[in-house]
């Protein structure tokens, strides 16, 4: 997790195109300027960033299902629940399942577990659009490689 680059997940550990599910992992950094303000003397991973981590996990699933043809942008959030505090250094296990894809939108159900315990969950809607430009798409492909996105699965899915 590189908070300063808004990279909220570390790697994709499972992508199942038949079940339309994904699992990712992330480790909250031990130190960040964010924790100096949130909160002094009681550092906590901000809930909005946990939601973003679920959105990024879901986003890679949507990119996989649409075979890298569309870019998902965050459009709506429903039933978000932040069930317990997440401190610096915490390992996160994230998962998402596709509920809908079509007519320009995708909807997922996502969650985060810490040591097996459900910590956050939400339903997230994305607007799917063409990649804005070649540079954007190239950067996404570069990030896919960093996250160990299984490109070969697109050929078989």
């Amino acid at each position: 997790m590189r908070l300063e680059y808004f990279q909220l997940i570390d790697r994709i550990v499972d992508l199942d195109l038949a079940q339309q599910t994904i699992r990712t992992e992330a480790r909250v950094p031990d130190a960040s300027t964010i924790f100096e303000g949130h909160f002094p003397g009681h550092p906590l991973m901000p809930g909005v960033l946990l939601i973003e981590a679920m959105a990024q996990t879901s986003g890679w699933l949507v990119i996989a299902v649409t075979k890298f043809s569309r870019m998902p942008f965050f459009a709506a959030l429903k039933e978000a629940k932040l069930r317990s505090f997440v401190p610096p250094g915490q390992d996160l296990s994230l998962s998402a399942k596709l509920l809908h894809e079509g007519s320009g939108y995708a909807v997922t159900k996502a969650d985060i577990r810490c040591e097996g315990k459900l910590t956050c969950n939400a339903e997230i809607t994305f607007r799917l659009v063409e990649f804005p430009n070649a540079e954007f798409r190239a950067n996404m492909e570069k990030m896919a490689a960093v996250l160990e996105f299984p490109m070969e699965s697109l050929a078989h899915g």
């Binding site: 809908h100 079509g102 007519s103 320009g104 909807v107 809607t125 607007r127």
Partner: protein
């Protein structure tokens, strides 16, 4: 049993916070009620659930984008209700 229109109008009213009495059969969801595609997605989910159908929203959107259909054919509420009734009938056939 409420009519198709009453069910749809109630869903729209609740989903988009639009006063129920302003929603008429001749209302156009986009032009008259100001519903955007994001809200319409929620409406479509609720309609699918209420009627046990799957509206082919992507196909309708494509037909409109390709100029093969007008938005009135699918998004004017009396026409939308006719489409819903057709899908319900097809399900039972």
């Amino acid at each position: 049993m409420p009519s198709t229109f009453d069910t749809v109008a109630n869903i729209i009213s609740e989903t988009c916070d639009i006063p129920r009495d302003t929603i008429k059969p001749e209302s156009h969801a986009i032009n008259d009620l100001g519903i955007d595609s994001l809200d319409f997605l929620d409406i479509a989910f609720a309609i699918d659930k209420a009627f046990g159908i799957k509206m082919p929203l992507e196909q309708w959107t494509q037909e409109v984008n390709d100029g093969k259909a007008t938005t009135e054919q699918y998004f004017q509420l009396n026409n939308l209700c006719t489409r819903i009734d057709e899908l319900v009938a097809a399900k039972g056939a």
